[in-house]
């Protein structure tokens, strides 16, 4: 089965961990993830500037390793990311900001990517909605 997975919650909220575990289980079960889409506070889970205490789960790192290892299509809504200060080098330059905190494997794109993924998938599964 093809899954599109959307995450709306920040990395320190339980929904982000649940989304990651669900995504891992999806692949482990032999299913396909057509796209991960991070929206609202979910964009913080892709930030490379999150520093987790040493004895705590480092969710942004786990997300990055999971996405990279599996070559997943993973997209952040660009408007949501800019509003929350999650910028890649290109956007940092465009808006004359002093730092970038988003790198590969993450991409910045529009909400059309969420709709496209939802159309392609058999199931759209959302985490961290209100």
């Amino acid at each position: 089965m093809k899954f599109a997975i959307a995450l709306f919650a920040a990395p320190h909220q339980p929904a982000s961990r649940r989304a990651l575990r669900f995504a891992q289980a999806t692949l482990a079960g032999g299913h396909e993830i057509v796209r991960l889409f991070f929206y609202q506070d979910g964009v913080h889970s892709a930030s490379s500037n999150v520093v987790s205490p040493q004895d705590e789960l480092d969710l942004p790192r786990e997300w990055r390793e999971f996405v990279t290892a599996n070559g997943l299509d993973s997209v952040l809504c660009i408007a949501a990311a800019l509003r929350r200060g999650v910028l890649n080098a290109e956007e940092a330059q465009r808006y004359a900001r002093s730092a970038a905190n988003l790198e590969a494997p993450w991409e910045l794109s529009g909400l059309g990517q969420l709709h496209e993924a939802a159309q392609q998938a058999d199931r759209l599964v959302c985490f961290g909605g209100q």
Binding site: A6, A80, R83, L111, G112, Q119, L124, C126
Partner: protein, 119 residues
């Protein structure tokens, strides 16, 4: 045949970017000619309250953006009558033409859509 998507908007317009970000999903879907519906539920019905003055909070008027929904082809617009009544808006004129649904109609509405996003 495109899958239909219902967006359930549950945030008041003054409680953060949630209401606007729910609307943006609907508008983006409309721009792609997808079958999109939008339901205002719980505090989300405050978005429909007429005569708001968000400028006093240095905020933009979300009500003006809601008017774009029909222009983007999103014409299936609903609000929970219970949510409206609980917030003193049961008999109020709203700033958007929505169908008011009772609880049993909400159940039927959720059944009709292939996918649901709640924000």
């Amino acid at each position: 045949m495109s899958k239909s998507l219902l967006i359930i908007s549950r945030q008041a317009p003054w409680s953060g970017p949630g209401a606007r970000e729910a609307l943006d999903i609907a508008l983006a879907g409309g721009a792609f000619d997808l079958p999109i519906g939008m339901l205002f539920l719980d505090d989300g019905v405050f978005q429909l309250s007429a005569g708001q003055q968000p400028g006093q909070l240095q905020q933009k008027n979300l009500g003006a953006n809601l008017q774009a929904l029909p222009m983007f082809g999103v014409e299936e617009l609903y609000a929970s009558q219970r949510s409206l009544s609980e917030r003193g808006l049961g008999d109020s004129e709203l700033n958007l033409a929505v169908q008011r649904l009772d609880d049993s109609e909400l159940t039927a509405l959720l059944e009709r859509y292939d996918q649901v996003i709640t924000l």
